[in-house]
Symmetry: C2
Subunit: 497 residues, 2 copies
Amino acid sequence: MLEKMDLTKKMDKETYKAKIEDLQEKLGGLQRECKALNIPVMIAFEGYDAAGKGSQIAELIQALDPRGFEVHAVKQETENEKMHAFLWRFWTKTPPNGRIAIYDSSWYRHVLVERFEKIMTKEQLANAYDSICSFERQLSDGGMAIIKIFLCIDKKEQKKRFKKLLKSKETAWRVTKADLKRNDDFGKYQAINEEMLQKTDTDYAPWTLVEATDRRFATIKIYTTVINALAAKVEAAKMPKAEEVAAAKPEYDKELQSSILSKADLTKMLTKEEYKKKLKVLQEKIQMLHGEMYRKRIPLVVGFEGWDAGGKGGAIKRLTEKMDPRGYVVHPTASPNDIEREHHYLWRFWEAMPKAGHATIFDRTWYGRVMVERIEGFCSTQDWQRAYKEMNDMESDLVNAGAVVLKFWLQIDQDEQKRRFEERQQNPEKQWKITDEDWRNREKWDQYEEAVNEMLIRTSTPKAPWIVVEGNCKYYARIKVLQSVVDALETRLKEEK
Amino acid sequence: MLEKMDLTKKMDKETYKAKIEDLQEKLGGLQRECKALNIPVMIAFEGYDAAGKGSQIAELIQALDPRGFEVHAVKQETENEKMHAFLWRFWTKTPPNGRIAIYDSSWYRHVLVERFEKIMTKEQLANAYDSICSFERQLSDGGMAIIKIFLCIDKKEQKKRFKKLLKSKETAWRVTKADLKRNDDFGKYQAINEEMLQKTDTDYAPWTLVEATDRRFATIKIYTTVINALAAKVEAAKMPKAEEVAAAKPEYDKELQSSILSKADLTKMLTKEEYKKKLKVLQEKIQMLHGEMYRKRIPLVVGFEGWDAGGKGGAIKRLTEKMDPRGYVVHPTASPNDIEREHHYLWRFWEAMPKAGHATIFDRTWYGRVMVERIEGFCSTQDWQRAYKEMNDMESDLVNAGAVVLKFWLQIDQDEQKRRFEERQQNPEKQWKITDEDWRNREKWDQYEEAVNEMLIRTSTPKAPWIVVEGNCKYYARIKVLQSVVDALETRLKEEK
C-alpha cells in the first residue's frame, strides 16, 4: 500500500486558505452533532517519525471546542502501564459518549515502534493483532467512531527533517537515536508498517493514508477524512435503517487522492526492434521458469485489469505464448452467470484458482467488486467497502499456501483509448471488440479513476502487489508485464532453494 | 467450555417421539422459506470420533427435501485438494442461494484432526484461525446462515463405542489407528478442541455444543438448534430493520441445556471444626502465595458471581483476610454510574484490572452483561450475544499478559436462598443486605438459570475457567474457593520457575 503513495502531492497557500475555513466550520458543527447524539470518537495518528503528527493534531483541534476533546500523547509505556496488558492504557483512555479523543501515536505503537525495537515472537505478534482487531471491533460495535490516519513521508524527506531539527538546540532533543535507526533501516520499518496496515484495514475501522510531504495538503486531507467519517456516523445515528446508511456517500475530492494513475509516465516506449529482441529473451525465460514452478509445485496467479482497450488481451497472449498449455489456464471474467450470481462474489474465483504447479491468468478479476460493481451500484456501499479486506484476505490465503500472486493495471490515457476505439470500429476484424457499453464506460472515466486509485492503494500488498503498466505503447507494456513476471518468479524460486 | 458439558443428558423414547414430528415439520417448512428467500445455509458437524456425526446427519436430513441439500463428507485431502490453499475445497463447496450444504467434519478439520497429527508452527496455526474467521465472516456478511454443531462424548464413552465397532467385521474398518490414538490422548485432543472453540465462537457463526452420549437427546437438540438459527435468519430476511431482528428470541427448551447448575451437589458440607482447621492452613498458604505472586510480578483477577445471598461476601472476606492489603483491591460492581454509562460496558472493568503483582477481586463482574442486562433488556439481543466472545477476548488479553484469571459461581438452591433472605429480614444487623429487588430477581430464577448455564458453557476456558461452588453449606463453599485459588496460584508459579 505504502509504495503506491504519491508523496509529491502538495497544495498552494491560496487553495489551502480557500478550503480550510469551510472545513473548520463543518468540523465544529459535526463535533456539536456528535455531542448531541452521544457519539464517542477516537482519532488515531500514526505514521513515520517527523511526518508531522504533532503539528497536524494542532491544526485539527483549531476547529474543535476545547471542552469536548482531549489529546493523548502516547510515548513509551510508564512503569505502571508496563504492568498491564498492552491495551489496558488505551481501554482506560477511551472517550465517553459525545467526546473526542485524539491519539498522537496509538495502540499501534506496540506492533510498530516497539516491534522494531524489541524481539516479539510470531505468536505474540499474532496475539497482538487479534487483540487490536477485537478492541476496535468491540468499540465500533458499541457505537464508537474510529478514525485512523497514517502520515507518510519517504526516507529522504525524513532525513532532511531530522537534519533540520538537529541543527538547532531547541529542537535537537526531539530526534532520538531510535528515530535515526528507523531512518537508516527505512525499508525494514516500512515492511512492518505495511503488514500492520494490511492486517488492520477493516470496514469498521479503516485506515486513511495521508501524503504528508506538504503540510497544507496533509491538513486538508485529514480534515476531509475526519469530516467524512463523522458525517457518515451522524447520518447513521439519525437513520436507524442499515440500508439507508449504506447509501451515504462521502464527499470526494480528487485533489486529495494519491493520483497513481495520472502519475504513470505514458510516454515510455519501445521500438518494434527493441521489443522483438526483448520479447524473445523473456518468453524463453518464462518458458523455463514455468517449468521450474511446475517441478517445485508452486502455483501462480496473475490478474489483469485496466481500461477498456488497455491491451490486456495482447499482453496475456505474449505472456502465455511459450508456456506449456497443460500448465496454465486463461480465465476470462465476464458478468457473473446465473449460477455464479447465486454464490458469494468470490466463489467463482476460488473455483478457478490454480493447483500447485499450475498457473491461472485472469482477464479481469475479483476487483470488479470495487470498480464496476461499486460504480454501477451492483452492490451496496458497505459491500464494496468491506471488499478490500476480503480480497486482501483471499490473496493472503493463496500466498500462505505458497502461491505467487501478481496484479497488473494496464494504464492508457483518454486520447489513446479514443484512438483505439475508433480503430476498432473502422477495422472489420476488430469490430467485435467494441460495444456501446465501452463508450458508456468511457464517460465514467473520472469515477473509475477514483475507484482505481483507491483500489491500488488499499490492495497493493508486498506479497500480492499491483503493478501499474504504462500502456500507451503496447510494446513497452508487454515487455514490462513479462519482465515483472520473470522477476517475481525468479525471486520466489530463490526462496525455494 | 467442554469440561462444563453435562454428558449424562438423555431423553426417553416417548418424549422423543412426541417432539420429533413437530420439529421435522418445522424444519421442512423453514427449508422451503429459505429457498423462497434465497438464503444459503451451511451446517458444519464437528466433534469427537464416534460421537455420531454421521447418524445425526442422517436424522437431520429426514426432514429435508432432498432436492434442496447436499452432504459433503470431509475426509483427508485428495491429491488435488492438497495442491490448493486449505479453504479452497470449502469455498468451492459453498452452497448457492436457497440451498443447504451439510458438512460431516468441516473446514475445522485443518485445526483439529490434522493439527493433532501433523506439526504446525504457531504462525501457521494463527494464520489458519485468521483464514477461518475471515471465511465465515465473509460468507455471513454475504447472507449465509452458518450453523456449527459440536458433538461431545467423553473418553470412556468413546472407548466403549470403538470397542463395539471393532467387534464386528462390518464395522471394524471404521475405527482407524488415528482414532484410537486420539482416544489414548484424549486430554491433549480436548485441549485442541477447546482452543478452537474459543477462537471461533463468534456472533456471526456461533458454536452449539451438543451432549451426544444419548442419541435421541442429541437429535432433538440439533433439530432445535438448526430451527432456531434458520427461523432467526428468515425473520431477519423479512424485516430489513436491524433493530427488530435483534429482538428475535429463539425458542428455549430448558431440557436441552447442559444443566450445570442443577448438577451441583448441594449436600456437600463441612463441619465447623473441619472448616476452622482447613481455613487456617489455606489462609496461611494464600498469604505466602500472594507474596510470591507479588515478587514474580504476576497479576491475579478473581471474579465472584452467584445467586443473591449465595455467600460471595463471606467467601471474599475469608479469601482476603490474611492477604497483604497493599497488594489487593476488592472491587464491588453495582449498576454503572453516570460516567460509566457513557463508556463501553467493559471500560470500567479494564479500569479496575490489577497491575503486575497485584490482585483485584471482583464482587460481581462484567458477566452482568449476559445475566441481568440480558434478562432485564438493558442491552439488545445482539449486544449480549456478541458479549461472550468479547469477554473471552478480554480475559485472553489478561492471560497473555501473564495474569491468573479465575471465576467463581456460588450456587445455592431456591430453598436455601429463601431461608437466607428471611434470616436477613429478621436480623436487624443484616436487614440492609436485603431489598425488594432481591425478591423480584428471585422470581426470575428460571430465566437466570438459563442465562447462567449458557454463560458457564460459553465462557469457561482452560485459561480462565469458571468454578462452580456448591454453596448451601457456607463452610464448604469458602474452603472450595480458597483451595481453588491456592491450586491455581501454585500451578501458575510452577510455570514461572
